[in-house]
């Protein structure tokens, strides 16, 4: 038991170091770092204009007030920021697999998946993360909702990362799966910035199942507006489920990677 605890502790230490080093690399040039972060905040802020205009037509869009819409925007940005800041490599995993760069992680005695996905960061995502919190404060501050916002940022970020791992892991079996992953990611991102009430029928069902934007982004807004323990646990449960599935499929793929190793060379 003690060794297991130690193992987890050591793993956390290495993952933390790995992320810190990746961030240090991106911060080498202070100007680039700052401009990336600031411009990303500005970039996101531009989209507020869209909602100002739309809410001038109608005070209620898809069941969201203007402030709730800002909160949804903020949460979606911070979820994206969280995932890309900590686990950028998860979004380029198929490239890592296809170019054989996984080998370096395979000879290390740590968790291959964690080591790989934490080995890179995207600096502009810090801007997304900050933007998310700015939106949150504009929406209004209470201790409970602040804690919930942090929690949902993390759970949503993990869902987003897990989906990317699952789709990118398809490269163990298929080539061109990076395109599938790209579509998956853009589905997650695009739907997450529009209120769920505008979608009906099958789309709505999909958003709460296969494309879990509903669970990662919409449910949190409902919970933060009007706390509902039942929805809160659905969010936790689905997050765990996706993480588990991501681990399973990645390790299944890894087994295949090691045992068959399809070489795609032209002869």
């Amino acid at each position: 038991m003690l060794t297991a605890v130690n193992g987890v502790k050591n793993q956390m230490r290495v993952t933390r170091l790995s992320i810190r080093y990746a961030v240090m690399r991106e911060m080498l040039n202070k100007f680039t770092f700052l401009s990336n972060v600031l411009f990303m905040i500005l970039n996101n802020a531009c989209m507020i204009v869209q909602w100002v205009v739309l809410y001038s037509i109608n005070d209620d869009i898809g069941g969201y007030t203007f402030k709730q819409m800002l909160l949804l925007w903020g949460l979606s940005a911070s979820i994206y920021g969280f995932a890309h800041f900590l686990f950028e490599k998860a979004f380029h995993l198929s490239d890592t697999i296809n170019t054989g760069k996984l080998d370096a992680f395979l000879v290390q005695p740590k968790n291959v998946l964690l080591q790989t996905i934490s080995s890179d960061t995207k600096i502009s995502s810090l801007g997304d993360l900050l933007f998310g919190f700015i939106m949150y404060f504009i929406h209004g501050f209470t201790i409970e909702s602040f804690l919930l916002f942090i929690f949902f940022t993390a759970s949503g970020g993990l869902i987003l990362t897990a989906i990317s791992i699952i789709l990118n892991s398809l490269s163990f079996w298929l080539n061109k799966s990076d395109m599938i992953a790209e579509v998956g990611n853009s589905l997650m991102i695009n739907f997450s910035t529009y209120p769920d009430g505008i979608f009906k029928g099958i789309t709505r069902i999909l958003l709460f199942t296969l494309i879990p934007v509903g669970i990662a982004n919409y449910i949190p807004i409902h919970v933060m507006t009007d706390f509902n323990i039942y929805l809160f646990f659905i969010n936790i449960g689905v997050t765990l489920l996706f993480m588990l599935f991501a681990f399973l499929i990645f390790y299944q793929g890894l087994k295949k990677y090691s045992s068959s190793n399809l070489m795609s060379a032209r002869i």
Binding site: N6, N10, R13, V14, L17, S18, Y21, M24, R25, L28, G100, K101, D103, A104, L106, V107, Q108, P109, K110, Q115, S258, S259, S260, N261, L262, M263, S264, A265, R266, I267
Partner: protein
């Protein structure tokens, strides 16, 4: 003590075959055709503790595939591998604490960090306590003469300095076996020599078993006591360096600079390779005639300078390949 035990190891790859032309590429989308390539065919060998062993062969011979199977990156199709008693397939994690790997062309270091920070990172990966890690780094830095640049970011180092750091990084956790895949690739001769000296010193100091793949003859000649030559997935030769030299190296090259012209013709045991008047290059078959005898023929009083050397190993290996064919 046997450290590595490889028995009847085989590995096949399926390689997608693409036929030429439009028809071919359409076909390959719907019904891909595969060709089976046997990268490693039924090879067996053992490595003893403290040995430096060279695993050599031309590109595509199966060197990397074998090393990948020993380091649990690839699983074998048939046969078994035991490294330090571990099965790489089942005990990946346990094994990884005991072995070090350096892949010459794939960097493991973070280039924006200093070697020192990198070593600390590797220390964390292998769960080494802070103090022990620092001590180990000091020791290795001394051995590999890193002091001048241990605090310079890796991206500012020369290739030779980088490789030295790569090797040190893979030694932080005191592995019992070190796998070096083409460690001197792309280096200039002086740096190569320097790396070899350091590897040898390290082997002496820590008794680390070293398994080295290379297609650089110098690496092997300078470093190894035992050589395994692999070609086309099969072991062509597994012998001591000495034996290899004895069987394939019974010829000496004598190069001499003369005061006066000598007239020498091919005779029993002597072949003239080059004769430019005052400069002479001959090959002596020592089974037929001693080197001393050959020099006598040249008239020792007449010699200004003389150099006696072995036939380059490259030629020997080529010779072995040819015999096998």
């Amino acid at each position: 003590m046997t450290i590595i035990e490889v028995k009847n190891l085989s590995k096949k790859f399926r390689v997608k075959v693409k036929e030429n032309g439009l028809k071919g590429s359409l076909k390959s989308i719907f019904k891909p055709k595969y060709k089976v390539v046997e990268a490693v065919k039924n090879i067996s060998f053992e490595v003893e503790k403290g040995e430096i062993i060279a695993f050599i062969g031309p590109n595509g011979a199966g060197k990397s595939t074998t090393i990948k199977m020993m380091t649990s990156i690839l699983y074998p199709d048939q046969g078994s591998v035991r490294v330090l008693g571990f099965d790489p397939v089942k005990d990946r994690k346990k094994l990884s604490y005991e072995i070090g790997t350096v892949f010459g062309q794939k960097e493991q270091l973070w280039t924006h960090l200093t070697p020192y920070d990198n070593f600390k990172f590797f220390g964390a990966i292998y769960d080494i306590p802070e103090a022990a890690c620092e001590k180990r780094i000091d020791e290795l830095a001394m051995l590999f003469e890193l002091d001048d640049f241990i605090n310079t970011p890796v991206r500012n180092l020369s290739l030779g300095q980088r490789i030295r750091c790569e090797i040190v990084a893979s030694l932080i956790h005191e592995p019992k076996v070190l796998f070096l895949d083409e460690p001197t690739i792309g280096l200039d001769p002086v740096v190569k020599e320097n790396i070899r000296v350091l590897i040898k010193r390290m082997n002496k100091e820590f008794k680390t078993t070293i398994f080295l793949t290379s297609h650089d003859v110098g690496d092997i000649e300078k470093l190894c006591k035992r050589v395994i030559i692999i070609n086309d997935g099969q072991i062509v030769l597994d012998d001591s360096m000495e034996n290899l030299k004895y069987h394939y190296l019974n010829k000496k090259i004598v190069e001499a600079k003369m005061k006066e012209k000598v007239n020498l013709d091919d005779e029993d045991g002597i072949t003239i390779l080059k004769d430019k008047g005052y400069n002479l290059k001959i090959e002596v078959d020592t089974t037929k005639r001693s080197v001393a005898d050959a020099i006598k023929l040249l008239n020792p009083d007449n010699i200004i300078d003389i150099n006696i050397s072995n036939v380059p190993l490259e030629d020997i290996i080529r010779n072995i390949y040819q015999k096998k064919d």
